[in-house]
C-alpha cells in the first residue's frame, strides 16, 4: 500500500523520508515540486499526482507537505486519512507539529512511523497504543533519560493492541478521576449582501477529556437527542445503543479524544448570533474608497459574544487602508491585501465599528467584487442548537468521578458577502 513517506517543507526541502518497502528514490518528489509550482498556492496542489511509476498522495498541514508514495491501486482516502492520522499523532506527541519539532525528535518520529505501518498497511494508529509503545518526550523525561540513560521506548509490550478495547491503555490510574466533555458547535453560514442567510448549518462535536482509573463504562444521554441529524462516532461508541435508545455508551480511551461529531438537522432554523453592517465602496474615478463595517449581536440568547475577529481579503487594487476602529486593533498587510480586525468582546450598548478610507491604485479600474468578510467569534456556555446533555453515568468502576460539561458556540466558516 503506502511505499514511502516524504516530509517536505514550504521551501521545498525534503527533511524526512521513511520507506516501508523497497527504497523509492527521492527524485520522485520532482513531480510533486512541478505540480506545486503550477498550483502557485500550497492549498491548490492536487492531493493526487500521477507519475509514470508511482502515485503521489499528499496532504498539507502545518506548512508541511506529507507526501505518500504508492505504486498500486488503493483508495485515495485510505492514504489521505492515514496521513492526517500521522499528523494528528505528531501533534498529540509533541504538542505542535512543525518542521523544527519533527527535526528535533527525529528518532521518536521514526519509531512512531515504524509502528504505524507494516509493509505499508496500518498497524497501530491509535495514539493510546502508540504511546504505550513509544513514550512521548517530555522535558522531565528528557532530563531523566540523559542522566540515567533510559529510553523512550516503553519496555511494556503493547498489550492494548490485543484487547477488545484496542483504543484504551491498560492499567490506567489517577488520583483525581475526572471526565470533562466539551460540546462545541460551529455555525457555518453564508450571509448575503442584504443580510439574509443564504445557507447556515450547525456542526457540532463533543470532545472529551477522560482521566478515569481502570476500565470505566460510561453512558451519556441527551435531553434532546432528536436534534442530532447525522452523527459520526469514535469507534468506542456502541452503535446499537445509539440506534435503539439514543444513548452514547462507551468505554473511553484514556485522555483527550473526539467522542462524537454531529450535524444538526437542516429543518431547524439556525439562529445567527451576529450581524455585520457594511458599506464598502470604490469609485471609478477617485483613488480613494470608503470602508465602514459595524458588528452587532443578533440572537445570542443573552450571552456575550467574545473573541470576534473580522478578516477580509481586499482586492488587488487596494494599496493601503487608513482605518480607525472604535475598539480592538486592526492590521492590513499591503502585500497579501489581508485586513484583519481583532474586535474582542461585543458590547451591545456600544457596537464596535471600523471606519476609514482605502487608497486605490491610480488609474486602475474599480474592482468588480466587494471583498467578502470572514467572521470568527465565540459564545461561551451556549450550544446554539439547544442541545443539552442530560446525564453521565459510570459503570464498571466504583469511585465517584468528577464530571464536567462545557458548552460553546463558535463561528465555523462564517462568511458575509458584500
Amino acid at each position: 500500500m503506502i511505499h514511502s513517506l516524504f516530509l517536505i517543507n514550504s521551501s521545498g526541502d525534503i527533511f524526512l523520508e521513511k520507506h516501508w518497502k523497497s527504497v523509492v528514490s527521492r527524485s520522485v518528489c520532482d513531480y510533486f515540486f512541478e505540480a506545486q509550482e503550477r498550483a502557485t498556492e500550497a492549498e491548490n496542489v492536487p492531493p493526487v499526482i500521477p507519475t509514470p511509476h508511482h502515485y503521489l498522495l499528499s496532504v498539507y498541514r502545518h506548512k508541511i507537505f506529507f507526501v505518500a508514495v504508492i505504486q498500486t491501486e488503493v483508495p485515495p482516502l485510505f492514504v489521505i486519512e492515514f496521513l492526517h492520522r500521522v499528523v494528528d499523532t505528531f501533534q498529540d506527541y509533541f504538542g505542535v507539529c512543525s518542521e523544527p519539532v519533527i527535526k528535533d525528535n527525529v528518532v521518536v518520529v521514526y519509531e512512531v512511523l515504524e509502528e504505524m505501518l507494516d509493509n505499508g498497511f496500518p498497524l497501530a494508529t491509535e495514539s493510546n497504543i502508540l504511546k504505550e509503545l513509544i513514550k512521548p518526550p517530555t522535558i522531565l523525561r528528557t532530563v531523566v533519560n540523559t542522566i540515567t540513560g533510559s529510553t523512550n521506548v516503553g519496555d511494556q509490550l503493547p498489550t492494548g493492541q490485543l484487547s477488545v478495547v484496542p483504543w484504551r491503555r491498560t492499567g490506567v490510574k489517577y488520583t483525581n478521576n475526572e471526565a470533562y466533555f466539551d460540546v462545541v458547535e460551529e455555525i457555518d453560514a453564508i450571509i448575503d449582501k442584504s443580510g439574509s442567510t443564504v445557507t447556515a448549518e450547525i456542526q457540532g462535536v463533543i470532545d472529551a477529556c477522560v482521566k478515569l482509573t481502570g476500565m470505566p463504562d460510561l453512558t451519556l444521554s441527551f435531553m434532546n437527542p432528536r436534534l442530532l441529524d447525522d452523527v459520526s462516532f469514535h469507534p468506542c461508541v456502541r452503535f446499537k445503543r445509539w440506534e435503539s435508545e439514543r444513548i452514547l455508551s462507551f468505554i473511553p480511551p484514556d485522555g483527550s479524544f473526539r467522542l462524537l461529531s454531529y450535524h444538526v438537522s437542516a429543518q431547524n432554523l439556525v439562529a445567527i448570533p451576529v450581524y455585520v453592517k457594511h458599506s464598502i465602496s470604490f469609485r471609478d474615478s477617485s483613488s480613494l474608497g470608503r470602508f465602514e463595517i459595524t458588528v452587532g449581536p443578533k440572537q445570542t440568547m443573552g450571552k456575550t459574544i467574545e473573541g470576534v475577529i473580522v478578516t477580509s481579503q481586499m482586492p488587488k487594487g487596494v494599496l493601503n487602508m487608513s482605518l480607525t476602529p472604535s475598539q480592538g486593533t486592526h492590521t492590513f498587510d499591503p502585500v497579501t491585501k489581508m485586513l484583519s480586525w481583532d474586535v474582542g468582546k461585543i458590547n451591545p450598548q456600544k457596537l464596535p465599528s471600523l471606519k476609514g478610507t482605502m487608497s486605490l491604485q491610480v488609474g486602475a479600474s474599480k474592482p468588480d467584487e466587494n471583498p467578502t468578510i470572514n467572521l470568527q467569534f465565540k459564545i461561551q456556555q451556549l450550544a446554539i442548537s439547544g442541545l443539552k446533555v442530560n446525564r453521565l453515568d459510570m459503570y464498571g468502576e466504583k469511585y465517584k468521578p468528577f464530571k464536567g460539561i462545557k458548552y460553546m458556540t463558535k463561528a465555523g466558516k462564517f462568511q458575509v458577502r458584500t
Binding site: I14, L16, E17, H19, S22, R26, E43, P47, P50, R61, Q71, E73, P75, P76, L77, F78, I80, E81, F82, H84, V106, Y110, D118, N119, T125, Q156, L162, S163, V164, V165, T170, G171, I190, D192, V198, T199, M215, D217, D230, S232, F233, H234, R238, F239, K240, E243, S244, R258, H263, A266, Q313, S365, P367, D368, N374, G396, E397, K398, K413, R417
Partner: protein, 1081 residues
C-alpha cells in the same frame, strides 16, 4: 567520546542526499581519508559495552536514515547488535536492518538466527515482532525460512501473531511470486480465522496476492459481514471494497427490475431500519416479506452485506464512509442508495484533501443519481476561502444538481461567483452557466442574456470565456440571435484573447446570412490585422473568408484572395496548408476540380450543436472511491468491477456446513467459537504455559481460568486487561455459555464491544429455527444490563470468573425476599419457565445459619432444544459428597420433554483439565416422556474455578456440557470459636489477606441480611462474634482443605470493610469480589 562533537557538527551541516560528508573534520583534510574515517566514531560507540553509547550511536544513525543519507557502510557494526538486550537499541537496529538488508544481503543473514529464535519465544509479542522484521528483510535467499515461519505463525495461538503472519504474506509474495500457491493455502487458512484482529490483514493479503480467487471468500462471506463492524478502520476499508467486488459476481443486479418494484425496496429499506431498533420480530417480518416480491428477490446474503455496512456510514474515518458509500452506490437498489448522501456531505467539513476526493466521487454519483444530493444543494455552495480546486469541483456538483426547480437559486449563486476575484473560478462558473443553459431549456435565454452582459466585463478572461460559451449556446438556435452575433462582432475590436476572437469569427462565418452587412466588414478588419493575430485566429479568418466568398463573393472576393495570399507566406505550416487547401476548394482553377463544386456543402453544412457535458460522465465504470476513478485512468493493480451476472451463481456455496441441533454442542464447534475470545485473554496474561505448551488442548476455552488461578505473578496490568476483555465479550460469552450450543453453527458472534450485530444475524441463518433466535435475542437484551450491574465492583483478579456464571444466577444474587427477581422484559417461554422454577426453589429454602444454601439455584446444563427434548439442570446442593469429601456434590435434574423415552443416560468420557476429577452418577436406564428425575454427581474442582467438561450420553446421542463452579461453592463450612478464628487469622496475613472497602446499602444493615447474603454466596459457617458490627465466617476449601476466613466490619459510620484471609490467594480475591457483589446489590 572526543569524536562525538565532530559528528554532531556534521549532522547539522550536511547538504544534499547521498552527498558524502566531507570536511566535517577540517583537520583530516583529504577526501579519501575522511571517507574512510567517516562514521568511525559511530562504529566505536557501537562496539562498546555500554548500552547508552550504543543507543546514542543508533539514534544518530537513524537520524541519518531519516534524512535520506547513506549509512550502509555501518552495516557490519550495527548488525552485531541485533541481539542486544536493550529494547530501544534493538528496535533501532531493526529499523536499520529493514532499511539496508536488501543492499547487504550476505551480512544480513547473520541476523536471521536471532529472529528464528524469536519466533519460538513464549511471548506472543516477541514472536510477532520477530516475524515482522524477518519478513521485512528483503533477502531472496531466506524465502524458504520466511515461508516456514509464516506457515507456523498462521496457526499460532495468538491472534496477534496470526495478524503479523497475514501481513507477512504480501511481503513474501513481492519477494518471490513463485510461492503464490503455498501462500494461497495460508491465506485460505487465515481467512477462516474468526478474530477481528486478523480479518482486515488477511483480506489485504488476499487482495494483493490472489484477488482473482473469489472462491476462497464463499465460505467466509457471512462471517466477514458479521465481523465487519468490529474490525479496525483500515481493515474495514479493505474488506468492504473486496466484498463489493465479490457481491458483483455473486448476486443479481437489484436494479434490473427497478420499474416493477419501485416501491418494494423502499419498504424493505425502512423495514430494516426499524429492525435495528426493535429487534428480531420485525426483522423476521421484513425478511419474510422479501420473498413475497415476485420479479426480483434479493439474496439474503446480499441484504446481509448492505445491512451490516450501513452503520459504518457513521464511522469517524472518511475512508470507511467512502468505502460504504461506494458499496451502496454499486450494490444497493436505487431506493436505498440515498442513505449515503448525508454521510458524504458530512465529509465535506473535513480537510481539503478529503473534500477533494469526496467531491470527485459526489460529482460522478450526482450525474447518475441526481435526486440523492438535491436536498443538500446548499452544502455545495462555495465560499471565497475554498481552494480553487475545491471550488471547481463544487461547481461541477452544483451544475449536475441543477434542475428545473432549483435553477433560479443556482443561477443566483453563480451570479455571486462571477464577481469573484479568483479568475480561474470565474471562468469555470461561466462554463457551468453554459451547461445549465443547455441542459435546462427554460433558462436558456436568461443565461444567454446574462452571458451577454458579461461581455462588457472589464476582465478579458471573463469576456473571452463568455464568448466561447455563447458560441456554443448560439449554435443551438442561431436564427433568433442575430442581435447577439452583431454585438459579438463589435467586440472584435476589443477582445484580445485568441480563443474568444476565434470563436466570434467562427460564429460570424457560420451565420453570415444572419448578419450579411457586418460580416464582410469584420473580414476587412481582420485582414488588416491578420499578420499580428495568433494562429488559431488566423485559421478562423481563413475560414470566415472562405465562407463569405461562397455566400457573398461579390463583396469579398478580393478580400479573400488577400487573406489567402497572406496566409500562404505565414510562418506556421498549418496556416499555409489551410490556405492552399481552401484556395483549391473555393477558387475554381483551370482543371475545375470536382471538389470545388461541392465547396458550399463542405463549408456550410449544418453542424450539430455541441453537447456540453460533465467530465465526470461515465466515470462510474471505475469503482468509486478508487484511485483509478479519481485519475480517470486505470491504475496499476486496479481490479475491474465486474458486471452483474445474468444468472445468479449458486448461493449455497456460502453455506457453511450447518450442524443440526444434535451436533450443536459438538465440542469442536464450541471450541472454535470460543477460541478467539479466550485465546485473546490468554495472550494478555503474558507468557502463559498453557498457551504454548498445549496448543491443541481440548479444554482450551477453559484454560483461561487455569492461567488465571495459576498466574499469581501476573501483573496487575494484565488483570485489568482481562477485565476489559470480559467486559467487551461478556454478554456474549454468557449467552453462549448458557445456550450451550443452540446458536452455534455458522453464526459467529462478533466478540467486540458493540453488542450489536448478533441480533442482526437472525435473518441469514435460514436453517436455525426461529424460536431459538427469539430466545437468543431476548437473552442478550437481558444479559446486557445484568452483566453491567454485575461488573460494577472494582476490577480485581477474580473478575472474569464470576462472569462465567450463566445469566440466571445473576438474577439470583439478589435473594427474592429482599428484592424480587425482576422479570426480564422479553423472555422466551422456556426461559421464563426456568426462572419461575428458580424463584420457587429459592423461596422454599428458608435461610438459616447452619444449613447454608447456595445462592446458585438451578442452572441450565443442557437446554431442551439443544438436547432434543432432554433438558438438564444442575444445582450445588452444598451437602458433603458421600463418595469423596474433596468433591463438590452436584444435583442434576433431568426432564424429558420429548415424545419418546430417553434411554441409557450416563456420563461419557470426560476430558478434564489436570487435577479435576468426576464421580459419575449411576446410569439412568430410561426416562419416559414428560418425566423428570434427579441424580447426584461429584466433581473435584481442585480448588479452581475451571469448568469441568464432560459428555452426557444417551443411547443415541452425546451432548457436550460443562459445569463451572462459583468460587463460593468450592469450600465447606468449618466451625470454630472467635479465639481460634483470630489465631488462624493472625497466621494468614500479608499476601494472604485481601481487604476491600465497600458501602453497604441500607437493606444490608441488619444481621440477618448480611449473614444470609454472605452464606448464600459462599459455603461458609458463621463464627460467633463479640462485637455487634462484625461478622465472621470460616470455611475450608474442599480439595486442599485450606482455611478461608472472612471478616466483615460493618461499622455504622463510614464504609464497611471486608477481609478475606486464605492461603489460596486466588480464591480469596475471587471470593471478596463475589461477596461484595452480593452485599452491594
Amino acid at each position: 567520546m572526543s569524536t562525538a562533537p565532530a559528528y554532531s557538527e556534521d549532522k547539522g551541516g550536511s547538504a544534499g542526499p547521498g552527498e558524502p560528508e566531507y570536511g566535517h573534520d577540517p583537520a583530516s583534510g583529504g577526501i579519501f581519508s575522511s571517507d574512510y574515517k567517516r562514521h568511525d566514531d559511530l562504529k566505536e560507540m557501537l562496539d562498546t559495552n555500554k548500552d547508552s553509547l550504543k543507543l546514542e550511536a543508533m539514534k544518530r544513525i537513524v537520524a541519518m536514515i531519516a534524512r535520506g543519507k547513506n549509512a550502509s557502510d555501518l552495516f557490519p557494526a550495527v548488525v552485531k547488535n541485533v541481539a542486544c538486550k536493550n529494547i530501544e537499541v534493538k528496535k533501532l537496529v531493526y529499523v536499520y536492518l529493514v532499511r539496508y538488508a536488501e543492499e547487504q544481503q550476505d551480512l544480513a543473514l547473520l541476523s536471521i538466527s536471532t529472529f528464528q529464535r524469536g519466533l519460538k519465544d513464549p511471548n506472543q509479542l516477541i514472536r510477532a515482532s520477530a516475524l515482522r522484521v524477518l519478513s521485512s528483510i528483503r533477502v531472496p535467499i531466506i524465502v524458504p525460512i520466511m515461508m516456514l515461519a509464516i506457515k507456523e505463525a498462521a496457526s499460532d495461538m495468538s491472534p496477534y501473531v496470526r495478524k503479523t503472519a497475514a501481513h507477512a504474506i504480501p511481503k513474501l509474495y513481492s519477494l518471490d511470486s513463485d510461492q503464490k500457491d503455498q501462500l494461497i493455502e495460508v491465506i485460505e487458512k487465515l481467512l477462516a480465522d474468526k478474530t477481528t484482529l486478523v480479518a482486515g490483514s488477511v483480506v489485504m493479503a488476499f487482495e494483493e496476492v490472489c484477488p482473482e480467487r473469489i472462491d476462497l471468500i464463499h465460505k467466509n462471506y457471512r462471517k466477514l459481514c458479521n465481523l465487519l463492524i468490529d474490525v479496525e478502520e483500515w481493515g474495514q476499508v479493505v474488506i468492504i471494497s473486496m466484498l463489493t467486488r465479490y457481491a458483483r459476481t455473486q448476486f443479481l443486479s437489484p436494479t434490473q427490475n427497478e420499474s416493477l418494484l419501485e416501491e418494494n425496496p423502499e419498504k424493505a429499506f425502512y423495514g430494516s431500519e426499524e429492525d435495528e431498533a426493535k429487534g428480531p420480530g420485525s426483522e423476521e417480518a421484513a425478511t419474510a416479506a422479501l420473498p413475497a416480491r415476485k420479479p426480483y428477490v434479493m439474496d439474503p446474503d446480499h441484504r446481509l452485506l448492505l445491512r451490516n455496512t450501513k452503520p459504518l456510514l457513521q464511522s469517524r474515518s472518511a475512508a470507511v464512509v467512502m468505502a460504504v458509500a461506494q458499496l451502496y452506490f454499486h450494490l444497493a437498489p436505487k431506493a436505498e442508495v440515498g442513505v449515503i448522501a448525508k454521510a458524504l456531505v458530512r465529509l465535506l467539513r473535513s480537510h481539503s484533501e478529503v473534500q477533494y476526493v469526496v467531491l470527485q466521487n459526489v460529482a460522478t454519483m450526482s450525474i447518475k443519481r441526481r435526486g440523492m444530493f438535491e436536498p443538500y444543494l446548499k452544502s455545495f455552495y462555495i465560499r471565497s476561502t475554498d481552494p480553487t480546486q475545491i471550488k471547481i469541483l463544487k461547481l461541477e456538483v452544483l451544475t449536475n444538481l441543477a434542475n428545473e426547480t432549483n435553477i433560479p437559486t443556482v443561477l443566483r449563486e453563480f451570479q455571486t461567483y462571477i464577481r469573484s476575484m479568483d479568475k480561474d473560478f470565474v471562468a469555470a462558473t461561466i462554463q457551468a452557466i453554459g451547461r445549465c443553459a443547455t441542459n435546462i431549456g427554460r433558462v436558456r435565454d436568461t443565461c444567454l442574456n446574462g452571458l451577454v452582459q458579461l461581455l462588457s466585463n472589464r476582465d478579458e478572461l471573463v469576456v473571452a470565456e463568455s464568448v466561447v460559451v455563447i458560441k456554443k449556446l448560439l449554435q443551438m438556435q442561431p436564427a433568433q440571435h442575430g442581435e447577439i452575433i452583431k454585438h459579438l462582432a463589435k467586440l472584435t475590436d476589443n477582445i484580445q484573447v485568441p480563443m474568444a476572437r476565434a470563436s466570434i469569427l467562427w460564429l460570424i462565418g457560420e451565420y453570415c446570412e444572419h448578419v450579411p452587412k457586418i460580416a464582410p466588414d469584420v473580414l476587412r478588419k481582420m485582414a488588416k490585422s491578420f499578420t499580428a493575430e495568433e494562429d488559431i485566429v488566423k485559421l478562423q479568418v481563413i475560414n470566415l473568408a472562405a465562407k463569405l466568398y461562397l455566400t457573398n463573393s461579390k463583396q469579398t472576393k478580393l478580400l479573400t484572395q488577400y487573406v489567402l495570399s497572406l496566409a500562404k507566406y505565414d510562418q506556421n505550416y498549418d496556416i499555409r496548408d489551410r490556405a492552399r487547401f481552401t484556395r483549391q476548394l473555393i477558387v475554381p482553377s483551370e482543371q475545375g476540380g470536382a471538389l470545388s463544386r461541392h465547396a458550399k456543402k463542405l463549408f456550410l453544412a449544418p453542424k450539430p450543436a455541441p453537447i456540453l457535458e460533465s467530465s465526470f460522465k461515465d466515470r462510474d465504470h471505475f469503482q468509486l472511491g478508487s484511485l483509478s476513478h479519481l485519475l480517470n485512468a486505470k491504475a496499476t493493480g486496479y481490479q475491474e468491477l465486474p458486471d452483474w451476472p445474468e444468472e445468479a451463481p449458486d448461493p449455497s456455496v456460502r453455506n457453511v456446513e450447518v450442524p443440526e441441533w444434535t451436533k450443536c454442542s459438538n465440542r469442536e464447534k464450541r471450541k472454535e467459537k470460543e477460541k478467539p475470545f479466550y485465546s485473546d485473554s490468554e495472550g494478555e496474561s503474558g507468557p502463559t504455559e498453557s498457551a504454548d505448551s498445549e496448543p491443541e488442548s481440548e479444554s482450551e476455552s477453559e484454560s483461561k481460568s487455569s492461567s488465571e488461578s495459576g498466574s499469581g505473578e501476573s501483573s496487575s496490568d494484565s488483570d485489568n486487561e482481562d477485565e476489559d476483555e470480559e467486559k467487551g465479550g461478556g454478554s456474549e460469552s454468557e449467552q453462549s455459555e448458557e445456550e450451550g450450543g443452540k446458536k452455534k453453527t455458522k453464526k459467529k458472534v462478533p466478540e467486540g464491544h458493540r453488542e450489536g450485530s448478533s441480533s442482526e444475524e437472525g435473518s441469514d441463518s435460514s436453517s436455525s429455527s426461529s424460536e431459538s433466535e427469539v430466545t437468543s435475542e431476548s437473552e442478550e437484551e437481558q444479559a446486557e444490563p445484568a452483566s453491567r450491574r454485575k461488573k460494577t465492583p472494582p476490577s480485581s483478579k477474580s473478575a472474569p470468573v464470576a462472569k462465567e456464571i450463566s445469566l440466571l444466577d445473576l438474577e439470583d444474587f439478589t435473594p427474592p425476599s429482599v428484592q424480587p427477581v425482576s422479570p426480564p422484559m422479553v423472555v422466551s417461554t422456556s426461559l421464563a419457565a426456568d426462572l419461575e422454577g428458580l424463584t420457587l426453589t429459592d423461596s422454599s429454602l428458608v435461610p438459616s445459619l447452619l444449613s447454608p444454601v447456595s445462592s446458585i439455584g438451578r442452572q441450565e446444563l443442557l437446554h431442551r432444544v439443544a438436547g432434543e427434548g432432554l433438558a438438564v439442570d444442575y444445582a450445588f446442593s452444598r451437602q458433603p459428597f458421600s463418595g469423596d469429601p474433596h468433591m463438590v456434590s452436584i444435583h442434576i435434574y433431568f426432564s424429558n420433554n420429548s415424545e419418546t423415552p430417553i434411554k441409557g443416560l450416563h456420563v461419557g468420557t470426560p476430558k478434564l483439565p489436570a487435577g479435576i476429577s468426576i464421580q459419575e452418577f449411576p446410569e439412568i436406564e430410561s426416562l419416559p416422556p414428560g418425566e423428570s428425575t434427579t441424580a447426584v454427581m461429584g466433581i473435584n474442582f481442585c480448588d479452581s474455578t475451571q469448568a469441568a467438561n464432560f459428555q452426557l450420553c444417551t443411547q443415541t446421542r452425546q451432548f457436550y456440557v460443562s459445569i463451572q463452579p462459583p468460587v463460593g461453592e468450592l469450600m465447606a463450612p468449618v466451625f470454630m470459636s472467635e479465639n481460634e478464628f483470630k489465631k488462624e487469622q493472625g497466621k494468614l496475613t500479608g499476601m494472604n489477606e485481601i481487604t476491600e472497602k465497600l458501602t453497604l446499602p441500607d437493606t444490608c444493615r441488619n444481621d440477618h441480611m448480611v449473614v444470609q447474603k454472605v452464606t448464600a454466596t459462599a459455603n461458609l459457617g458463621r463464627v460467633p462474634c463479640g462485637t455487634s458490627d462484625e461478622y465472621r465466617f470460616a470455611g475450608r476449601t474442599l480439595t486442599s482443605g485450606s482455611l478461608v476466613l472472612l471478616t466483615l466490619d460493618a461499622r455504622p459510620a463510614g464504609p464497611a470493610q471486608l477481609t478475606v484471609n486464605s492461603e489460596k490467594m486466588v480464591i480469596g480475591t475471587m471470593l471478596v469480589k463475589d461477596v461484595i457483589q452480593a452485599l452491594t446489590q
